[in-house]
Symmetry: C2
Subunit: 225 residues, 2 copies
């Protein structure tokens, strides 16, 4: 009986979250603000890849960044210093994911007036953030080479909700048993549509292709410059 | 008001979980069965390190392994094939952590009669599993070199609940910006006591030291052979 109750509570929470997320998404679209949610395991290279992508886009968009972490200020400092764009650090107080309510509060704290492109770097967690729609227009999911090409099999929902996937840290491929083909096959078992970009922030491999794809999606919301 | 309610539910769940976990721990101790919980991010090398540790211990203990995953059978297959010890695969149905109830059901499904050493490989997640005491006697937490030495700062609770920490994949240190000293400092900010082992399953670095430490803890529960 206890488990029935838990399921009902969870479904109710998620259904209410999704309604709120749709409101956020529509509201931002009405204002011409593109909202990108970036998710992955801890240490997959979200911050480093984002620095490269932001550097390529900041001349054409007014970008703001929300760095979500349980603790520490490291990522917000790194992004602000490297790119100069408006950045806030959000602490979740132990929470393992960002709900639409937390997303809304972070957007308010950041302040979207004057911006047309907001990036949320979600908590490093390949499980829970996938369950909670943040109201973003696109979900970029990273899979780093050191994690292994089997991860889409073991963490299905994350790869189902992805609208684009970036394989990261390809420069270390020679020292890991990672096959891009196997990774793509495993991603395809979870997601038939999301394009997969093979990237490396250090060598710049694939960063241009990923950036141009994101640019196209952003222009669809905030209009072509 | 909604948030007050959520906190109460969560505290109640965790307090009930911890009571159940204490019962499991005491029950296993009474039977002379040592229970080790292994936690880390996805892809930190739990399965590979465990294969090496089990190989060193299986002559002296009767070992059983519970592989917890959201989906896929990969890890149970890998452990069973490599080590020959009794192994079960547990699927959490989407859940991001193992509660004491799930832990108890898995122990029953494995069957502890005839065993004196059980290993739980928890869900790959650096956040949620730390909140739920599984009833294990020891918590081994892995931090892999590719993840970065800053992770103990960003995921505090996981390193607080650790009773031993293994830095893994040290063979790839030359291609990553990872400092063992910095990692140890960051772990010490979260945990003053847990010993830190510098390991590599591929080269066998540090595996003997970690194994001998685990052996000592196991002998404390199931008696010296």
């Amino acid at each position: 009986m206890a488990s029935y109750k838990t399921v009902e509570i969870k479904e109710d929470i998620i259904s209410r979250n999704n309604q709120g997320a749709s409101r956020i998404r529509e509201g931002l679209k009405g204002k011409g603000v593109f909202y990108l949610n970036v998710m992955s395991s801890p240490g997959s290279g979200k911050t480093t890849l984002l620095k490269r992508v932001i550097d390529r886009l900041k001349g054409d968009f007014c970008i703001g960044v929300i760095e979500a972490d349980i603790d520490s200020e490291e990522d917000a400092g790194a992004i602000a210093e490297a790119t100069g764009v408006k950045t806030i650090q959000m602490h979740t107080g132990g929470a393992c994911h960002i709900t639409c309510q937390m997303s809304e509060e972070a957007l308010e704290a950041l302040g979207v007036d004057g911006l047309n492109f907001v990036i949320l770097e979600n908590i490093g967690n390949l499980v829970c953030p996938a369950e909670f729609d943040t109201g973003a227009h696109e979900n970029l999911v990273l899979l780093s080479v050191p994690e292994g090409d089997d991860k889409p099999l073991k963490y299905p929902l994350m790869f189902e909700v992805a609208t684009m996937v970036a394989i990261t840290k390809t420069d270390v491929m020679p020292v890991f048993d990672f096959s891009v083909d196997r990774a793509k096959e495993n991603i395809r078992m979870r997601n038939e549509k999301a394009p997969v970009f093979v990237t490396c922030a250090r060598t710049d491999e694939g960063v241009e292709e990923l950036t141009e794809y994101i640019r196209g999606k952003a222009e669809g919301i905030c209009g072509r410059k």
